[in-house]
Amino acid sequence: MKTAQLMKRDFDGDSADSPARTEASVTLLPVGATLAPRAEPQPKPAPTHGGALLAWTRRQAGDWAMAAVSIGLVLLAWYLATRFKLDFYIRFNNIPTPADVLDKVVEANRSAKFITNIGISVRRILLGFAIASVLGMGLGVLIGRYRRVRQLCMPALEVFRPIPAIAWVPMSIMLWPSNEVSIVFITFIGAFFPILLNTVHGVEAIDPVLLRAARSLGAKERSLLAHVVLPGALPHIFTGLAVGMGVAWVSLIAAEMISGQFGIGYFTWEAYSLISYAEIALGMITIGVLGLLCSGAIRMVARMTMPWLAFSAGGKKS
């Protein structure tokens, strides 16, 4: 197919095509044109500032309104189901109403215990996630870039990868000197593999022409890693970080429920043991909000770190 096109272009245009083209090119090009700017279309002329801002505000307002409706509907369903003690295979008899939980929120925020539990969970997440990020990205770049490292590391990693972080709980308690460290370890395990594998994939997906271009401009291996491989893999790395953060929360809550002292997962499980229904719901909602904040933070960092994605073909996600 390609050959046919080339043939057509190269060999057909003898009679009808080329005089027209030559003429066109003469009229198009003033003689003595230099490197001077051409009247090329300015890419994406921005609308006036006021108009853009207005449109943006309107779009944002629409988003917020729909978000309020979305959450409002859930609250309404929850309220109705608990108010009328819906009992239709799923039972809402013992489920607290939104108002009960709201009371609990006010009460819990006054208690040091609840706040401490949140603080401890957040610390575990940040610690486990930070270690997973550093190791996952570092090892991922090496594995993606060097065949020998890949050959050495991947078989072992592939064996550990299918083991869910929660399955590490008993082993982790035996391995690590304190309960606290073992929970951080489980959080780390949860975040590590998504970050690692996405980084490897990101490094492998870099256009080899970019590496050639960099080397022809005098880049040696170290600069190549810092200025081409790492930024080139960033979009994939951030995918890994977002997924890793989600899995880290799953792992953390499970670990806290099974082996924990303190932490928001422990708080929720303890509430169940103490038959404090409103606190169960409060714990769940808190976990949801914390997870949302964490993934939102990653998205924000991603946008700030990779401003160019706003202009790339596939980068305009609304």
């Binding site: 060999f11 490197l35 050639r212 022809s216 080139g232 160019w308």
Partner: protein, 294 residues
């Protein structure tokens, strides 16, 4: 029009490319593949030389060897008498796919080579801005490549390759991805730029008009394995202007090259049909095949 300092090269003394008896062979799953066979070419300092041939004739492979991306199977490549060993900033490369770093602004792209040379940020910025100014791209210095049109991207690509003051510019079908109008404009920009810089250029293309318009000399390659079929000096005077493409000399030269390449393309296609398509067809409908099926 004066040359600006970062672009000044001691032309006519450096930038001599010599390729001697070059052979490139790939080991593929289906056995060995001779991409280039016994090719000898040279580019004099300050000369513009094009390499033209049917698709798949190994012309890009040849350029990759001169760029240092690929080691040849046999023969040698020399730059100013020294064997080429890996890529380096003495040879600027312009690729068909632009190959700008999408995460860097236009100016950071141009600064990259200077950064690798260890220039300070302020020196880099000054030089990059001067070059972008010459190319008429200064107002786009803070744009990202994805915000630019194809022609602008490739101008940035050329400016980036020139930023380190290379002795040689290697261009691998640099305008192949552009529409024909933009392409003609880019050809003229390039010839004007070359007129001022006088650096050695090795230019790969399959566009005959482009090769004749731009070059001092044109090598025509055979289809695979790529050999030099013919070498021609372009008789057009310098500096080149678009009017010259209407001259009888230009037309005659284009016609000659076209017929040379047509021979090669037909040979290549005939070979493909003979080896693969037709042979396969005849065995399939042979009498033995039929009886076996029935």
């Amino acid at each position: 029009m004066t040359l600006h300092a970062p672009l000044q090269t001691p032309a006519a003394s450096r930038g001599h490319i010599e390729v001697r008896n070059l052979g490139i062979r790939f080991d593929t799953r289906h056995g060995r593949l001779d991409a280039v066979d016994d090719v000898s070419i040279h580019v004099q300092p300050g000369e513009f030389v094009s390499l033209i041939g049917p698709s798949g004739c190994g012309k890009s492979t040849l350029l990759n060897v001169v760029a240092g991306f690929l080691d040849p199977t046999s023969g040698e490549t020399l730059l100013d008498g020294r064997p080429i060993d890996g890529p380096g900033s003495d040879r600027g490369v312009v690729f068909q796919q632009y190959s700008l770093f999408p995460w860097m602004t236009v100016r950071k792209n141009v600064e990259f080579g200077l950064k690798m040379q260890g220039l300070s940020p302020s020196e880099r910025e000054t030089q990059a801005r001067t070059l972008l100014g010459l190319a008429g791209l200064l107002s786009f210095e803070n744009h990202y490549p994805d915000q630019l049109s194809g022609g602008m991207k490739q101008r940035v690509g050329i400016v980036r390759a020139l930023a380190t003051s290379p002795q040689v510019l290697l261009m691998d079908e640099p305008f192949g991805a552009l529409d024909s109008q933009t392409r003609v404009v880019m050809q003229e920009i390039l010839t004007n730029m070359w007129q001022r810089l006088r650096l050695s250029v090795l230019f790969i293309t399959h566009d005959i008009d482009e090769a004749v318009f731009l070059s001092d000399r044109v090598y025509v390659m055979t289809s695979r394995p790529g050999r030099i079929k013919s070498e021609m000096v372009v008789p057009l005077p310098r500096p080149r202007t678009p009017e010259m493409t209407a001259s009888p000399q230009f037309a005659a030269m284009v016609r000659t090259i076209r017929s040379l390449i047509r021979e090669e393309s037909l040979a290549a296609m005939g070979g493909e049909l003979g080896d693969g398509g037709l042979a396969g067809l005849s065995t399939e409908i042979g009498p033995q095949g039929m009886s076996a099926v029935i």
